[in-house]
């Protein structure tokens, strides 16, 4: 979109401004409020986390003196096979849900590129799943995936397959929760991807077509690569959120059967609030944060390299 016509005209007329703020001042002013809030809301909890992670302490038993164990909590956690299983499961879940979200999301964004009648209405309709309260989404899918009376099994039975135990077996539950998560957040991908696709100058697409390229070819060789920066941001955001997923597992499986569908975040919730092992929970939180941060840093580095290229 180019600069609106009347604005351009007015600019040319250029009356003098009285005084102007130097850029550096403006920069500081723009950043200050955010910086303040972040400082307040991040530093205290974060340093508390690190502090408590070195202790063996429970806030529920304040009368028992905290014991300084240094890195003991970390060692115990990293030696615990269970914790590795949680991370493995989390990784599988993240891959599953992001895969579904992006496959469907990109396909739908592709379909929404051209203008057609009723597109705006359909587009808004497609955003609906994202607007629901996550806990309600969890219960809705739990209801739909119920092996006895769920509508998913009913649809499955129409094709002649017997009732599947979706939530009682971890292999199935992984996909069930991934579907629920993807269902909720695919609209996010659609929204950003559509924005990216529509932002590509028309002439680039048209010239490809004139050269005889099919719409598919244009999409994969022109549109997608040029949208990569935005898509990577979307991917990054979705990955981070998937790592944190808690509400859906709480509503749908409760972490079961046994502990098989406990993600790292779920295990964290259990240790932090269920058992109230404040020290151990803090250490696990730090580990989880390091994992997410590490992966994000790799991503962001790749992202900056990409955007510098484009």
């Amino acid at each position: 979109m180019s600069i609106p016509q009347d604005e351009t005209a007015r600019v040319k007329r250029a009356p003098k401004q009285a005084r102007t703020l130097p850029d550096s001042w403006l920069c500081g002013l723009f950043l200050a409020p955010s910086g303040l809030i972040l400082a307040l809301m991040v530093f205290y909890p974060f340093f508390s986390l690190i502090y408590y992670s070195t202790l063996q302490f429970s806030m529920m038993r304040p009368r028992i003196e905290p014991v300084d164990v240094g890195l003991g909590n970390y060692v115990d956690l990293l030696n615990d096979n269970e914790i590795w299983q949680r991370f493995a499961f989390t990784g599988k879940f993240v891959l599953a849900t992001v895969l579904i979200q992006f496959t469907i999301g990109l396909a739908v964004a592709y379909a929404f590129q051209r203008n057609f009648k009723g597109r705006d209405f359909l587009f808004t309709l497609a955003l609906l799943p994202m607007m629901l309260c996550p806990i309600v989404v969890g219960f809705l899918w739990r209801y739909m995936f119920n092996s006895e009376w769920g509508v998913v099994n009913w649809l499955v039975s129409l094709v002649g397959i017997a009732k599947i135990d979706w939530l009682g077996r971890s292999e199935n539950a992984l996909w069930a929760v991934a579907v629920a998560d993807a269902w909720t957040w695919t609209p996010f991908v659609i929204l950003l991807a559509t924005a990216a696709f529509r932002g590509i100058p028309k002439d680039i697409k048209e010239s490809a077509e004139i050269d005889g390229a099919s719409p598919m070819f244009t999409f994969f060789r022109v549109t997608l690569p040029m949208s990569l920066p935005i898509l990577m941001i979307a991917l990054l955001l979705r990955l981070i959120d998937a790592f944190k997923q808690y509400d859906l597992f709480l509503a749908m499986t409760g972490g079961g059967p046994a502990s098989e569908t406990q993600t790292a975040a779920f295990a964290l919730g259990k240790i932090a609030f269920g058992y109230f092992h404040t020290g151990e929970a803090s250490a696990l939180a730090v580990i989880l944060l390091i994992v997410i941060m590490g992966l994000s840093m790799i991503f962001v580095r790749y992202l900056t390299r990409l955007s510098n290229r484009v």
């Binding site: 609106p4 403006l26 955010s34 809301m41 309709l125 609906l128 309600v136 932002g199 002439d203 939180a285």
Partner: protein, 284 residues
Amino acid sequence: MRRNAVLLPALIIGVYLVFSTGPIIWLMLSSIKDRQDLFAWPPTVFFRPVWTGYEAVFGVGSAQNTATAVGLYDSLVNSVVISGFGTMFAVVLGTLGGYATSRFRFPGHGDFMFFVLSTRMIPPVAVLVFYHMLYSRLHLTDTWLGLILVTTFINLGLATWIMKGFFDGVPTEVENIALVNGYSRLFAFRRLVLPIVSGGIAATAGFCFIVAWNEFAFSSILATTRAKTLPVKISSAMGATGIEWTQIFAAGVVLVVPVVIFFYLIRRYLLMGMTFGVLAKGPG
């Protein structure tokens, strides 16, 4: 060739809409089923509707005189105020921060952006107790100010990143034309750049509002009675005498209405301005 170009997109959209709206229709249907119909096999599509779920959500009819109905209206007001202001602050601060990071490549701007993003990485459960403590000391627990602060905070990362993305897509020529002609940066920002990214602002506001409105983890612990938000209030109906499915589903339907209204209000900005990325660095 042209027929295929229409058929495939139509098919994709059609299938997707079934997938995305199907469960929502199921949600609405299930919110008015009685227990027999809820668990019937095969699932029923035609049945006599029952309104107890909605009655429980609004605290009327069969759900009068319940403790859950107390403060329902107040929590609605709380939610509107907290989500409204929280979204607004997040969008404003995110816009300012995104612009600053996009235009003024100050030293450490990459780290700043990463830091901003990292606020989104913390699972709420990890830090809930610490926030509870912090708020208790600052006397922010159960206050509008406290919850607005938290709501702004959780959306700040998202808002800043998305807005920066949009600003990156606006060529610097736009402000340069103004600056060269003696206008202030602030003027260029307000009058020239902002209108271009209005679609981005709308999208950001939409995302932030969704997160703010549906926020549960922090609100459930940091608010007790006076500043309790609607999702927390309604969720307390869960598991009263069994999992009250109709109540949960009715709550889901009721909770989504304000969000839909919000998106309807910003639809013009959302759909019109939805372009971004590689903008007209040409045509020439």
